[in-house]
């Protein structure tokens, strides 16, 4: 088995002894012990596993680790640029108390961050479109929308 090197949250990580077909999701969770990225469906249907690959939101359950060799991944653990300053979306999520069970929220935030990096001031429809792949079983959609708007007003593309 080849060794895979990926840049995760700004740090070069090497994973050896891994089946190259292992989805990025499980490489993060089982091999790098980074469990912020969640498993919901394994089929690209729920968005719980959303991370950024070279800046774009992707479903990590559906990308084999071999395909990300040499590339850059950002996960929820690394979304805040600096340790003491959270991403405006993370602040907005706390301020509006978005989570219920909270299980989907890492994926929701990663999708929202990708949206704000492309569109600093999204409309409801922009938000709905960008977030369509992220399911929330608890039904926190109203607050997700509100938190995205509120982060956008505070310069959320940060």
């Amino acid at each position: 088995m080849p060794t895979i090197s990926i840049n995760v949250n700004g740090e070069l990580r090497e994973i050896s002894d891994i089946d190259p077909n292992t989805p990025l999701l499980w490489a993060l969770r089982d091999h790098l012990q980074m469990v912020g990225t969640k498993f919901g469906c394994g089929k690209g249907l729920c968005g719980a596993c959303t991370v950024h690959l070279n800046g774009a939101a992707v479903r990590s359950c559906s990308i084999p680790i071999s395909e990300v060799d040499g590339q850059s991944v950002t996960t929820i653990e690394g979304l805040a640029a600096k340790a003491h300053k959270l991403h405006p979306l993370q602040d907005a999520w706390m301020e509006h108390d978005v989570p219920q069970c909270g299980y989907c929220q890492a994926g929701q935030i990663m999708s929202a961050a990708s949206l704000l990096s492309r569109n600093a001031n999204p409309s409801d429809t922009d938000i709905d479109d960008a977030m369509a792949g992220n399911l929330c079983r608890c039904g926190t959609y109203k607050r997700i929308r509100k938190a995205i708007h509120s982060a956008a007003t505070k310069g959320g593309a940060a």
Partner: protein
């Protein structure tokens, strides 16, 4: 009218998981000595001499006075760990334990809020810690039936108030003044006569030396004095959640952890003849594979094949390569199509009355108008977003579990029997849960994880994939109701009959309904109907049934609230006026019994919803406004849905107005989150969710065939709280039941089409 049909207590183990939880807790040896009443007797214990000093108060469920232990200033750490309810540290930190499992209902935040309120401290000074699972120290620990609020309201207020009283006494002693001159205010005791103050931290050591007052006699704050309760308080885990810290069951890590899958027969109850275990074991990353016979109890251990791997992916891949020769003899052969046919047939014929009041046939023959309708709804899955999982480690004869369970206290008893381990050698840790909805009231996943771990020399994390989660749920049962309503010449509802099916566990005595599957006359929630007849025909069911969000209410509210609307339309009467008539005079049908219908509260929320929801205002073509009401899990909810239907029958739910009476709202944020979530869940469910099965196996396999609502379909949700003097009650469930009928009644208004089969996709409508 006083209506005896409504004066029954809820059936244990059936209507409400609460009863089940209570029973399970009683079974746990540690509590049985004291769990003799609804809220077990408690006394408080102090512990001083803990690391760092300060005042610690813990509940004790023991009857024997143990206050002595507190007096010698030494904590008996084996019996009472410092992880108690309240801990005031000399540096001013206030640590409050969160005792119950967090499934998203916000309990890890609002139970500590109750304590902090009575303790009279600023919320910002509080650190919340998840407690251990220990009935001795924390009493019943569960999440279900919206019971945590009513059950903990008095004991936790008392816990806070006792500590406050002791701090006041400490200050009085320090200053040599009477206690009546000392007031608690936000972490300080103020001397009324000279304005001097001492912080709780300064007083903690003195307080710890004082006797503990009886929790029942300490004064509690008035609601008007509340500073924390009723406010918008964000969840205590939010920061950890938004930064991806490990919190959930699935996040549990241990050194040398093995990853397991457990494969069961797709047809419920099937057992294993043989499997290609050698081929599986030869796969890369596979550590072991073996068959477990199980004990055949669906919520304990079903037969299956365990595969242990070095990584989750390798375990999942091995599952795909696994070939099992299943023994289908004991397995379910049931079919949803057959069930539907059978139920139609049975309910079309007269049956035996299981509940009756007045004379329905007379009402029917004297009626001016008779309305007959057949309503049906499907089986449903819980589909928590975090699939079932559990971590277990068996070493040195001790079993330790990390279990995302709604009833963690019942696990040790179960495992003790299953694996023959003494209960004292079983330790259960609670973890945050990625959605409960009743699924995790049953601990099959914990039994599986422990049974697998019992056979290997390493910690094991059992992980279900989405497909197994949908295939091995405990489903909300589908239902069938052949309804007849009788209206007199004045358009009054004089009689209602329901010929229905009640499933009973296959192989049982046919007397007790499956979990969450009962149908009672009181579910109609129209106590003014003089003639009522329920014919509940029992049918055996092998497919595992379970409590869902608002068990039984979640389906019956839709049936009866739709039919009442249907009758109002047939009587050519305004739905609101017609519905209010069914409640009759404002009264409590059994005074003091919180789970018995109170028509006054029903009337009040219904009127409030109508007022806020613009009842009676004209609507545009193909728009509709629907009303519905339901009382469940001690909460009163009326909801109005406004919808627009386009020419292709795409339904947009524009606005949902919710009027609620749960006594008092404890956390504005968490409470409203529950209501918003219930509304979304309601729309999600009615849109396109259906579990079907053939030959005893479920056909839906993932979110493509069992869809959840998406962001764009959310309506505007407005919530109006009616504050009443009743004790606060839970919000995990009661906002859910009325939603569906509000929407389908609105669809009727907009299109003239009455929806009588769920989900509405079956009737050609689509939620957009």
């Amino acid at each position: 009218m006083n209506n005896d049909l409504y004066n029954h207590d809820l059936e244990p183990d059936v209507d409400m998981p609460a009863e089940f939880i209570e029973r399970q807790n009683r079974h746990s040896a540690k509590v049985s000595e004291s769990a003799d009443s609804f809220i077990p007797r408690r006394q408080f214990l102090k512990m001083s001499g803990i690391a760092g000093g300060g005042l610690v108060l813990a509940f004790s469920l023991s009857r024997s006075p143990r206050a002595k232990a507190a007096h010698h200033g030494e904590s008996d750490s084996t019996e009472f760990s410092p992880n108690a309810f309240i801990q005031i540290k000399p540096d001013g930190t206030i640590v409050i334990a969160a005792k119950n499992p967090e499934v998203g209902q916000g309990i890890k935040t609002f139970l500590p809020m109750i304590i902090a309120e009575e303790l009279e401290v600023p919320w910002e000074s509080v650190t919340v810690e998840q407690s251990a699972i220990d009935a001795k120290r924390f009493g019943p620990q569960s999440a279900g039936g919206s019971q945590s609020t009513p059950r903990n309201w008095d004991p936790l207020r008392q816990a806070g108030a006792v500590a406050r009283a002791m701090l006041i006494a400490a200050a009085a002693k320090t200053w040599g003044v009477s206690e009546s001159k000392c007031n608690a205010d936000q972490g300080f005791i103020i001397n009324e006569s000279n304005g001097k103050k001492l912080s709780y931290a300064e007083l903690a050591t003195t307080a710890a030396s004082l006797p503990i007052p009886d929790g029942k006699t300490v004064p509690l704050k008035k609601r008007s004095e509340y500073k924390i309760l009723g406010k918008f308080i964000p969840g205590v885990d939010n920061q950890a959640l938004v930064t991806g810290q490990p919190l959930f069951g699935i996040d549990q890590q241990l050194p040398g952890l093995l990853h397991a899958v457990y494969v069961k027969c797709p047809s419920f109850g099937g057992t294993v003849n043989s499997a290609n275990l050698d081929a599986i074991k030869a796969r890369p990353g596979i550590v072991d594979a073996f068959v477990l016979e199980g004990n055949g109890v669906d919520n304990e251990l079903s037969a299956g094949v365990a595969i242990l791997a070095k990584s989750t992916y390798e375990a999942f891949q091995a599952e795909k390569a696994l070939q099992v020769d299943w023994n289908h003899d004991p397995a379910s052969k049931e079919s949803w199509t057959d069930f539907q046919k059978q139920a139609r047939e049975i309910t079309s014929k007269p049956g035996k009355a299981t509940e009756e009041q007045g004379d329905f046939s007379a009402a029917q023959s004297e009626a001016k108008t008779v309305v007959e309708s057949f309503y049906t709804y499907p089986f449903l899955s819980h589909s928590n977003l975090e699939p079932q999982n559990c971590t277990a480690w068996f070493r040195d004869g001790k079993m330790e579990l990390w279990a995302p369970s709604q009833t963690p206290q019942s696990i040790a008893g179960m495992l003790s029997k299953l694996l023959d381990i003494d209960q004292s050698n079983i330790e259960v840790n609670q973890l945050r849960i990625g959605g409960g909805f009743g699924r995790r009231l049953l601990n099959d996943f914990a039994c599986e994880a422990a049974a697998i771990a019992h056979k290997v020399d390493a910690p094991v994390k059992l992980m279900w994939n989405r497909e197994s989660d949908l295939a091995h749920d405990f489903y909300r049962v589908g239902g069938f109701h052949n309804l007849t309503g009788a209206l007199d010449s004045k358009g009054r509802l004089t009689g209602l009959q329901d010929r229905t099916i009640v499933y009973t566990p296959a192989g049982g005595d046919g007397k007790r309904p499956v979990r969450g599957g009962n149908v009672r006359a009181s579910n109609i929630q129209c106590p003014e109907i003089p003639n009522v007849r329920i014919e509940a025909n029992s049918l055996p069911l092998q497919i595992p049934a379970g409590w869902w969000r608002a068990p039984s209410s979640c389906s019956l509210a839709w049936v009866f609230q739709s039919f009442v609307h249907e009758l109002a339309v047939a009587a050519k009467r305004d739905h609101l006026e017609f519905l209010l008539e069914q409640f009759g005079e404002p009264r409590w049908l059994k005074k003091g019994k919180a789970n018995v219908f109170n028509t006054e509260r029903a009337i009040n929320v219904t009127k409030l919803a109508a007022e806020k929801g613009d009842w009676g205002k004209p609507m545009k073509k193909r728009q509709g406004r629907g009303l519905s009401f339901y009382f469940s899990h001690l909460g009163y909810f009326a909801e109005i849905a406004e919808i627009t239907v386009d020419s292709s029958n795409n339904v947009k739910v524009d606005r949902v107005v919710v009027a609620a009476d749960v006594g008092m709202l404890l956390n504005k944020s968490g409470g409203e989150n529950q209501v918003e979530g219930s509304v979304i869940d309601g729309i999600s469910t009615l849109a396109d969710q259906e579990i079907t099965f053939e030959n005893g196996a479920v056909k839906e396999s993932n979110f493509d065939t069992y869809p959840l609502l998406r962001m764009s379909a959310q309506p505007n949700i407005e919530i109006h709280w009616l504050t009443s003097d009743y004790s606060p009650t839970g919000l995990g469930e009661p906002a859910f039941p009325p939603l569906a009928a509000a929407v389908t009644n609105a669809i009727h208004q907009a299109t003239g089409k009455r929806i009588r089969a769920m989900p509405i996709s079956k009737e050609g409508f689509k939620i957009v």
